[in-house]
């Protein structure tokens, strides 16, 4: 571990993910995609926070707005998408108010990204070391090449890469090693928050476990907060401290991971957890109808009403707000009273 890192990150070792204070606060975020027949509400009034030193998981089906949320946090939403409203606060700074020069200073030094399919994001004709140097030198004052080399080798050690990778090209590495090189790059400038978009989706289970454990190790040793986007509930159970479930652009449930798996409250979260295939016992498959509404014209009321097995009249009239129904466990569903007791339903 480099000297700078230990200085700026006193909290090393024994991080349990329940550090106080928020590293990132997202409020009422709205991102719409323009189409000729109306706006698609990719992210609609999403609010959440990521606490210091925790990994927050963001799950939901493809197209539910997970990646768009991440891009909005990074202020990287591209046309035809646009951020319509809300705020994204990183350590007291509202990223929405920054101009492009200021954003450039924040990106990578305070906020970095491990993009989807990160292993294909490496430049195939550049050595791994020059790509990492590139990232460091763009954001920092020049340092001697010996210093840089030592720093990069420290990073490699941190993510479990052998030092010979320093002089290798991306095609010489396996998928898991490329992914770890991307993690090394993401932590190179010691950011407060890393957003990892499907960090293990293209890897097989054995390598997925190695990469997952690398992320956990980085969190434990550096105390970096992370948002991990994915759809594999098994992986989430292993990796994250808190879990947020999105459906069709809305946040439907946020809870500590143990509470989420022990007692999912929203019918969609229940469905996600019940449909995890098991390797311990063979059990009958659980089926649900899969009709989603047109994202351009969301129905009045609850966003999940068309697939919900317990839909009630009120679900078609009023949009359920996100309420804290259990300690730290928020759910947007009409099936519960304000104090969290379930309402009898059909």
């Amino acid at each position: 571990m480099t000297v700078e890192m230990t200085q700026t990150r006193p909290a090393t070792g024994g991080f349990d993910g329940h550090g106080e204070g928020a590293a990132l606060t997202v409020k009422e975020l709205k991102v719409y995609y323009h189409t000729p027949t109306g706006d698609v509400r990719a992210v609609d009034s999403v609010s959440f926070e990521v606490r210091k030193g925790e990994i927050m998981g963001l799950v939901g089906e493809s197209g539910c707005g997970k990646t768009t949320t991440a891009m909005a946090i990074l202020q990287l939403v591209q046309s035809p998408g646009r951020i319509v409203g809300g705020s994204v606060e990183l350590d007291g700074i509202d990223l929405m108010q920054l101009n492009s020069a200021e954003l450039r200073d924040v990106r990578w030094t305070r906020l970095s990204l491990i993009p989807q399919g990160a292993m294909n994001s490496l430049n195939p004709v550049m050595l791994i070391n020059s790509q990492i140097k590139d990232a460091i030198q763009t954001h920092e004052a020049r340092s001697s090449s010996a210093e840089l080399k030592e720093r990069i080798e420290n990073l490699f050690q941190l993510v479990g890469l052998p030092s010979r990778v320093y002089n290798m090209y991306p095609h010489e590495l396996s998928g898991g090693m490329k992914q770890r090189a991307c993690i090394a790059m993401a932590i190179a400038l010691n950011p407060q928050l890393i957003i990892a978009d499907e960090p293990t989706s293209a890897l097989d289970v054995v390598v997925q476990r190695v990469v997952g454990q690398t992320l956990l190790d980085v969190k434990r040793r550096l105390g970096i907060s992370m948002i991990v986007i994915g759809h594999d509930m098994g992986l989430m159970a292993q990796l994250v401290d808190r879990l947020a479930v999105m459906y069709a652009g809305r946040m439907v449930e946020i809870a500590p991971v143990k509470s989420m798996f022990a007692e999912p409250l929203h019918p969609y979260a229940q469905l996600l957890i019940e449909s995890i295939p098991s390797i311990k016992e063979r059990k009958p498959l659980r089926l649900t109808e899969g009709l989603t509404h047109d994202l351009r014209t969301p129905p009045t009321g609850c966003i999940f009403q068309m697939r919900c097995p317990h839909v009630m009249d009120i679900c078609r009239e009023a949009d359920p707000p996100l309420r804290e129904l259990r300690p730290n466990h928020q759910t947007a569903c009409h099936l519960y009273e304000d104090d969290g007791t379930p309402i009898p339903h059909p």
Partner: protein, 328 residues
């Protein structure tokens, strides 16, 4: 009665020829697989990316040809089929692919998918018969024609598209459906529906499946038999329940151990895991066990000889590992 499908000593090499040059990649080596005529079964073929499972699907579907070995369908060598017989084979062996977004031509309505096969296989004499046939096939997968036939593919969800592909395959009344990762791009909450269709087609219509997947848990949930591939070689095979519940080959043990448990209270085993560059490992064609570089229980013998399958349990449970040699 001959088996429905028999793959005998199938070997497929890529590269290394006069024209393409470069090192030889062994995609599949001495692969054997049998699917019985009846009862219909779901045979799972699982392994990590690059283990040769899609190569097997492509070989069975006739997209690529074998370097050596044979594929026998109901007693006839597929290589020797020509003309009418070949057409019949194409009809009886259907495919469902991984990506339900890429298989549709975005310019045509959904019904084009069905019209095309009705036309190509001359299945209906008039439009009404054809329409009835389509409706019938869609009902099997829980869809209604009026809902989807006039739509364009982009208006449907991934799960719906994959169900339509199942209906398309079913409409031809095949004997075997090769399903290459049919649920890996379908949303988790909708996977069960696709898997259930496979089970129902097996039980009610007598259609066998060759289910290619990297996901051992779905293979366990619906598979009757399983073949686990490691770098083109069968590491372990047998009845799905005995293989998954009682794995013998060190690779399969590692694989099952690595599947993240969907329970935050049970953490991953934390022993240090060394991964080796895959590229380094896959050059050699003949010498020794392919899992040697990563194996925790290796011994010298493993480098000298390629382990043949040894019987390790009841029925057909076999593992290609010298650890089980003396139990033969």
């Amino acid at each position: 009665m001959p088996p429905l499908l028999e793959v005998q000593n199938a070997t497929k090499l890529y590269g290394g020829s006069l024209l393409s040059g470069g090192p030889v990649t062994v995609a599949l080596q001495d692969y054997n697989l049998t699917i019985e005529e009846s009862p219909a079964t779901i045979t799972a073929v699982a392994g990590e990316s690059g283990s040769g499972k899609s190569t097997l699907a492509n070989l069975v579907l006739g997209f690529t040809s074998l370097t050596s070995g044979n594929i026998i369908f109901r007693g006839r060598n597929v290589k020797e089929m020509i003309g009418q017989e070949r057409m019949q084979y194409r009809r009886e062996v259907q495919a469902v692919f991984q990506d339900p977004y890429a298989v549709y031509n975005p310019f045509y309505r959904v019904k084009h998918v069905f019209d095309m096969i009705i036309h190509n296989f001359k299945m209906a004499h008039n439009v009404r018969d054809g329409r009835e046939m389509i409706e019938d096939a869609l009902n099997v997968v829980g869809l209604r024609g009026e809902e989807i036939l006039e739509k364009y593919p982009h208006q449907l969800s991934g799960g719906q598209r994959q169900r339509i592909m199942m209906a398309r395959a079913y409409m031809l009344r095949p004997r075997l459906i090769v399903a290459d990762e049919p649920v890996s791009m379908v949303d988790a909450s909708l996977r069960a529906m696709i898997l259930d269709i496979m089970l129902r087609l097996r039980d009610e219509e007598g259609i066998s499946f060759l289910y290619i997947t990297h996901d051992l848990s779905t293979a366990y949930q619906i598979g009757d038999a399983i073949y686990l591939l490691y770098q083109g070689v069968i590491a372990e095979s047998g009845e799905t329940t005995s293989v998954i519940e009682n794995p013998k080959h060190p690779y399969v043990q590692l694989l099952l151990d690595s599947i993240p448990v969907p329970d935050p209270d049970i953490k991953w085993g934390s022993e240090d895991m060394a991964t080796v560059d895959d590229e380094e490992m896959r050059i050699s064609v003949d010498s020794g066990c392919r899992f040697y570089p990563r194996c925790s229980q290796r011994f010298d013998r493993c480098l000298e000889l390629t382990p043949p399958p040894f019987s390790v349990g009841e029925k057909d449970h076999q593992a290609a590992c010298f650890l089980y040699e003396d139990k033969r």
